[in-house]
């Protein structure tokens, strides 16, 4: 067996799980919303997957751009950085719409009660918009800061962003659910 792989693998898992349990606690605390808005639980795994994938690919692109020198390691909004941010935000919106539609479609397909097409779509859109603003900002700042410190963002950012994505996404879903429930949808 590889001793180093075990040590590094366990370190990654322990840090990641210790933070991610907060996402789990968040999900347990929002069971009222899960009950009130049937179909919401369907979007949870997809939503977390999307957040991790979008944040992870952004970090990975920025990391390459920093290594190659296309983006300067300073917190300045250059054209290259702007294109990355715009692309990430549009991608989040497109996929949020898809996730909302999929949740309702799965309810229809498997005969579950759905909170309604519009409700699930809005839920996904609001949560997607909120979480993508937070995650994009955090990813850009952290990746540049990590690089400034002389560390390699390629190695560090992946697990950090997927874990942070979970912890940010759950409260955003909760917040979006509260907004929709307050509107009486």
């Amino acid at each position: 067996m590889f001793k180093n792989t075990i040590r590094q693998g366990l370190l990654t898992q322990f840090v990641s799980l210790t933070i991610d349990v907060l996402a789990g606690i968040g999900l347990a605390l929002m069971r009222g919303a899960l009950e009130e808005l049937p179909g919401m639980l369907i979007m949870v795994p997809a939503f977390l997957q999307m957040r991790g994938a979008i944040g992870g690919t952004l970090a990975s692109r920025l990391s390459s751009a920093l290594h190659v020198g296309i983006i300067e390691p300073r917190l300045k909004l250059s054209k290259e950085l702007l294109q990355n941010i715009i692309g990430t935000l549009i991608l989040s919106l497109v996929l949020s719409v898809l996730i909302g539609c999929l949740a309702h479609f799965m309810c229809l397909l498997f005969g579950f009660t759905s909170a309604g097409f519009l409700t699930l779509l809005l839920l996904s859109l609001i949560a997607g918009a909120l979480s993508s603003l937070v995650i994009t900002l955090v990813t850009v700042i952290m990746t540049i800061k990590v690089y400034q410190r002389g560390l390699d963002p390629d190695v560090i950012m992946g697990p950090i962003i997927t874990t942070l994505g979970d912890v940010v996404s759950i409260p955003c879903l909760f917040l979006a659910a509260l907004v929709l429930m307050a509107m009486g949808l």
Partner: protein, 187 residues
């Protein structure tokens, strides 16, 4: 002209992430089928993101390791015995088992502080251990196959293996979580 174009980022991202999001909707559907049970046993809700995170991390490590082995030529994209892969697989299973123990401890601690009822430590341990270890075994198999297939097609396995492995693991993880919870009589 900029090197990065928002349009390309959207176009390329849509294909791979859309596929993983569609697969992951099935994971959500499996959980939704047992929504009422999950609402009465919130410890399982705590476990959902954590188990998916844990197997996702396994998928990332396995996916990028296989890509590296293929690029270095240490492993050939063929179904044959490979000492590197076998050693790596055993290592990953050990990591999965130890991480499962830790996750059980975390979930028990969180349940205690939230004052959740019906949490039976031994049953939770069995659920997390069986789900965590079997999903990791599946992550290894799917990772190897996805890595081989994409490599033989001339694509970079670094781009494809991770989203496929993590999404498939989420579905299997959700199925196992519910099935093992039923098998040990927790739900």
């Amino acid at each position: 002209m900029t090197v990065y174009k928002a349009k390309d980022i959207v176009k390329q991202g849509t294909v791979s992430i859309t596929a993983s999001v569609v697969i992951d909707s099935f994971a959500g559907t499996v959980l939704n089928a047992k929504l009422e049970t999950l609402l009465t046993l919130p410890v399982l809700l705590i476990l959902i993101p954590c188990l998916m995170d844990m197997t996702g991390n396994m998928g990332c490590m396995i996916g990028s390791k296989i890509a590296t082995y293929l690029h270095l030529g240490l492993v050939r994209p063929k179904i044959e015995r490979s000492p590197y892969l076998e050693k790596y697989a055993v290592t990953m299973i050990v990591v999965a088992a130890l991480s499962s123990l830790y996750l059980t401890f975390l979930a028990m601690t969180a349940s205690y502080f939230l004052g959740l009822k019906g949490v039976e430590p031994v049953k939770i341990l069995i659920i997390v251990l069986v789900t965590g270890v079997s999903t990791s075994v599946i992550a290894i198999i799917v990772g190897v196959v996805a890595g081989f297939v994409t490599y033989r097609y001339g694509w970079d396995p670094d781009n494809t293996t991770i989203p496929i492995v993590t999404a498939v693991c989420d579905v299997i993880g959700a199925l196992l979580l519910i099935s093992v919870a039923l098998a040990v009589g927790l739900i």
